[in-house]
């Protein structure tokens, strides 16, 4: 077990409208600690000194809840790729490193405190159409609806999205298209998703635009940052779904007046 001494440069901001600034803190860690455990130790020290601990989001600490965030040295969820911040271990860093820790940056994700941002815009995109409507009653027999293995695999890959928002944080346009497309494609591939297929993509893309996210310019940074390795193929499929639904849906596209 090798101990390392680090310098953290952390974004501190007392509240949504308070001005923020970077503050440096010394930190010590061993290579087996997760990134969040390293921060826990820093916070314990801060509390002992009577200072406000660094606020950051976390919950399950096993990479499935989508709570933890943090842009670490310019990369959402840190340098490793394919993991969340809570799964990032200190062995990814070297003794003496300076680590810059920032919140997700997007107009739609206002900072609430320090490294905690409000990600409810993603919830509102889901609420707009990321569901299926089913009549209640007795549960259907298992495997009563045939689904091709290929389709179910692709739907599962898209459904792996945990909604952490790293795609928005990584995108130079602060676009939420990887997130939205994962949700759209997941349901569009399944038989259960067919009845609301057109309306879903129209409503979710509309909600995405209304929340003020940017557009996709095919940088690919979202896919590289995604802890669940969601593919940008989903963005292409969502574009296709959206074009099809706009031209073909009988009710027409629900748009909000006043947009460009």
């Amino acid at each position: 077990m090798s101990d390392m001494k680090l310098t953290l440069k952390v974004w501190r901001q007392a509240g949504p409208s308070a001005p923020g600034a970077f503050k440096s803190y010394p930190a010590s860690a061993n290579e087996h600690m997760s990134f969040l455990e390293m921060l826990d130790v820093v916070n314990e020290d801060l509390q002992e000194q009577g200072e406000e601990p660094i606020a950051f989001d976390h919950d399950c600490r096993e990479g499935i809840c989508g709570s933890c965030s943090l842009v670490i040295n310019g990369s959402p969820h840190g340098p490793k790729g394919g993991v969340t911040t809570c799964q990032l271990h200190m062995r990814s860093f070297k003794n003496g490193d300076e680590i810059v820790i920032e919140p997700w940056r997007a107009k739609s994700f206002p900072v609430l405190r320090d490294l905690v941002v409000d990600r409810s815009p993603l919830d509102r995109i889901i609420a707009a159409g990321g569901f299926i409507s089913v009549p209640t009653g007795a549960p259907p027999d298992g495997n009563a609806i045939p689904v091709a293995k290929e389709d179910s695999d692709r739907a599962m890959d898209a459904a792996a999205c945990i909604g952490c928002g790293a795609c928005v944080a990584a995108c130079p346009n602060a676009s939420a298209m990887l997130f939205t497309s994962a949700k759209v494609v997941h349901l569009s591939l399944m038989p259960q998703g067919q009845p609301e297929r057109n309306r879903r993509v129209l409503a979710m893309v509309n909600a995405m635009d209304e929340e003020g996210f940017g557009g996709c310019t095919n940088y690919g940074e979202c896919q590289a940052a995604c802890p669940k390795e969601i593919s940008v193929e989903n963005i292409a499929l969502m574009n296709r779904e959206f074009l099809r639904a706009t031209l073909h849906d009988r009710d027409g596209a629900p748009r909000v007046a006043g947009t460009m």
């Binding site: 676009s175 995405m208 635009d209 940017g214 310019t217 095919n218 940088y219 292409a236 969502m238």
Partner: protein
Amino acid sequence: MNRFRALWQSVIGKKIAMAGSGLILVGFLISHMASNVLVFVDPAKLDAYAEWLHGFGGLLWVARGGLLFFLLVHILAAYQLTQIARAARPTGYHAVDYRVSTYAARTMRWGGVLIAVFLVYHILHFTTGTLHPDFHPGEVGRNVIEGMQVTWTAAFYAITMVSIGAHFWHGIWSVFQTLGLNHPAWNSTRVTVATALTLLVAGGFLSIPVAALLGLLP
């Protein structure tokens, strides 16, 4: 028409407009490049080609109007998407670490501005002759060869052609993605098509100012 309006009002629709108009401009550039390299064969053939085009009279103006329209759609969509993207990230990062994005992708916007400036110069140079040192209407081959003798002009053309190449490469690859043409079996082909078209078109355009700079033009 409401459907097209609905498309234009969404970020994805603007991207589709950008891709569609871009494709038409790509088609124009392919024919433009193919005719330009006639200067290597015989400058008189370039004159004959220009005369043939002018023979269409009114139709030529329809084509010019169409190209201008799609160019304006392309620029307007780019401008609005840039505004939306800038507004979406008012506060940037202190540390920036691009992992996979290419230089071509990150220079699409300023590259586009450079191409627009070039286009104005190019029309004043070879179409109206306003900025040409010794312009002879109708003698296209001669105008090209003499125009390219000015070193800074040839250098500006060469630099812009490299920039167009980068814009072209990312743009063509992106067209597939924006129009939803993505399939694991074909994705590497998309990049091959973009690279081949870029080498052909940007390379063809680039050959003229480079040949002029090396003194190889007839």
